[in-house]
Symmetry: C2
Subunit: 420 residues, 2 copies
Amino acid sequence: MKHIVVLGGGFGGLAFTQRFRHERVKITLVDQTNHHLFQPLLYQVATAGLTMPDVSEPLRSVFSGRPDVSCRMDRVTAIDLKQRLVRLENGVLEYDYLVIAMGAVTGYFGNPEWESHAVGLKSLRDAMEIRRRVLTAFEHAETEEDPERAKVLKTIVVIGGGPSGVEMAGALAELAYRVFRKDFRNINPADARIILIHSRDRVLNYFPDPLPQRALKSLERLGVEVMLESRVEDIGQEQVTVGGQVIRAGTIVWTAGVVANPVTQTLGTPLDKRGRIEVEPDASLPGYPEVFALGDICSLSDAAGQQVPGVAPAATQMGKHVAELILQDVAAGKIRASEDRPAFTYLDKGTMATIGRSKAVAFAGRWKLSGLMAWLAWLAVHLMFLIGFRNRVSVLFHWIYSYTNYRSGARIIVDLENKK
Amino acid sequence: MKHIVVLGGGFGGLAFTQRFRHERVKITLVDQTNHHLFQPLLYQVATAGLTMPDVSEPLRSVFSGRPDVSCRMDRVTAIDLKQRLVRLENGVLEYDYLVIAMGAVTGYFGNPEWESHAVGLKSLRDAMEIRRRVLTAFEHAETEEDPERAKVLKTIVVIGGGPSGVEMAGALAELAYRVFRKDFRNINPADARIILIHSRDRVLNYFPDPLPQRALKSLERLGVEVMLESRVEDIGQEQVTVGGQVIRAGTIVWTAGVVANPVTQTLGTPLDKRGRIEVEPDASLPGYPEVFALGDICSLSDAAGQQVPGVAPAATQMGKHVAELILQDVAAGKIRASEDRPAFTYLDKGTMATIGRSKAVAFAGRWKLSGLMAWLAWLAVHLMFLIGFRNRVSVLFHWIYSYTNYRSGARIIVDLENKK
């Protein structure tokens, strides 16, 4: 019985495990959480539109019909390629094939001290922390007697103008200007400021013209102040320094950068400058054809010479590709050399970002879309790829409810950090 | 403009504020959280059947159509009856009328050191902590090599055989024996033990015969080990001592006792031995006819000489009663003496408890019900009294889903305590 160890239950690890099935192979899927997280909707958890279970599904539940798959909740501490084993906090796993799909973590450009002031957006815990900070800041602003202090509490800075930052800023603006306006009495939430800081000269900079301009217009119409060509110089307690100017803000959200999961440091194979594993064209590790890396933990230029982007569809496609390769290996009865295997080719099916309640921008090849139609496409695609029937129904219900009511259902502050 | 301060957004405070409305009176509703919590379904959050937002509703949202009501999220530190003011962590409120509806907190019979080992069930945070402990213990049991240790991890002790303890034990048994059985590979969750410890000679001891016996039978059929006439002598790290015997358990849940919110200590008026405020027949405080206490923070024997029980319907009825009294005062243009006001009379509309997926026991006066019919009645009543349209739809959907699938949708571990 061959044993495949899959590290990470994100898009890549999930796609691999769903595709790979062979009666003489068992799979162990390791993740430090007990669930798959649908990251593209995480910002809606942060802005109180969706609940935690809406965007996540227990891995055991995904694979409950697969007796060949064992799920294990544990943390990977090191990978020993030479001895073919993975060290976990609570044990060791030996493997015949290894699939590394542990993704990225928030990176602060070498300023780890920024982390406590500016929350990233990679996990459910991050999303709940952003939600707690925003809701608590507005609650405190309601009774704050010092108007200057109240202004600070009602200011939210989002750093990074990629899809995550743009979607986050749009959702925060709707929360502050539409949902909170009904909720608060003593303050005028319209005093709230949502500031989006981006280092480039346009948001969504890898989207083709005129989509960045349309996204900018949509953001500004929602009330977001967009600062372009602005580089963050420092982040401290409730303040961001940008271009020498200090902005005071009750909540600071960081979407400006990610780095590969630090476990890559234990491999001893070449990494790129963001810590990602440099893989062969077939996605295997140089010198270790039985080990693969996929998703945004790896760095790969595909057959066309294009760098494969760190997005969910790429991870999913790589997961399926690697599953096919190993199935071919198993059929051939041997671990083939990397050069004897087909190279991975990324098929770009398009990219989209939503801006608030009924606007989005999307493109696929030369095909571009913006406005309501793009938003409907965004809804359909996200519902389609969200895992689990229960989640789809629940998310659809939440969306219909908040679209028609201008309310978001999950505005509950639960301070799980500071035990009373 | 008169000013009424309401402390607490539970059943009592909510019912008062919903009933009381007068154009010359404004209300400030203070709660330490930002939401009303539907406590009767809290155990379903703890056992992963419902999500946090399902059982709670932001107070601002409940009163968004009431410009006369201001909500304030703050913690009450002291009440000064003589000066007619309430001290908060972030400010002071003066009042003309005060309604104290701050409820009860978990009490450990004078053993505060038990708190860190045995989780109570009064807040969303408690429910999330129980959920996290149970799910994590079973995850660890899956990879535990020492069979003795695995047994401990899969043992859950529930202390207290009142409605909360019975409902909790029943839901945990279904989680362990039905939901987990599909989920786990290496362990047999049927090895799990759910132990219910109760000091009396029957569970639900204030329910009339034969309901306690039927409840006991239903619990045992679900696989719960019920220990009657057993008093907990000590609780430590993963262990409970009862009758000299030490039971080792990965999760310990405490539903055996509550005491009044400790703010009652700052009043200087008579309290009963559980710290509850002793009130006059109209629910006002002795010597302070402008101050009322209601719900399970007060101790009141009604006109019939019956002690009003600390249950949600009693708090709701008292809230409405006090609203009427103050409206009469306002109409009369004066604060009437307690003896000039009608006494509160509790109307017992019945009591119910559910045991697992399709069993319940209920009684109202001489009318008794058990089994499926009682369970359907339980469903209807809980849906009816749950606040918020969104919550009702979402809860109903979750119930239908888990009833038909034997799955619970919220089995997500989020460790918000230990920041990684």
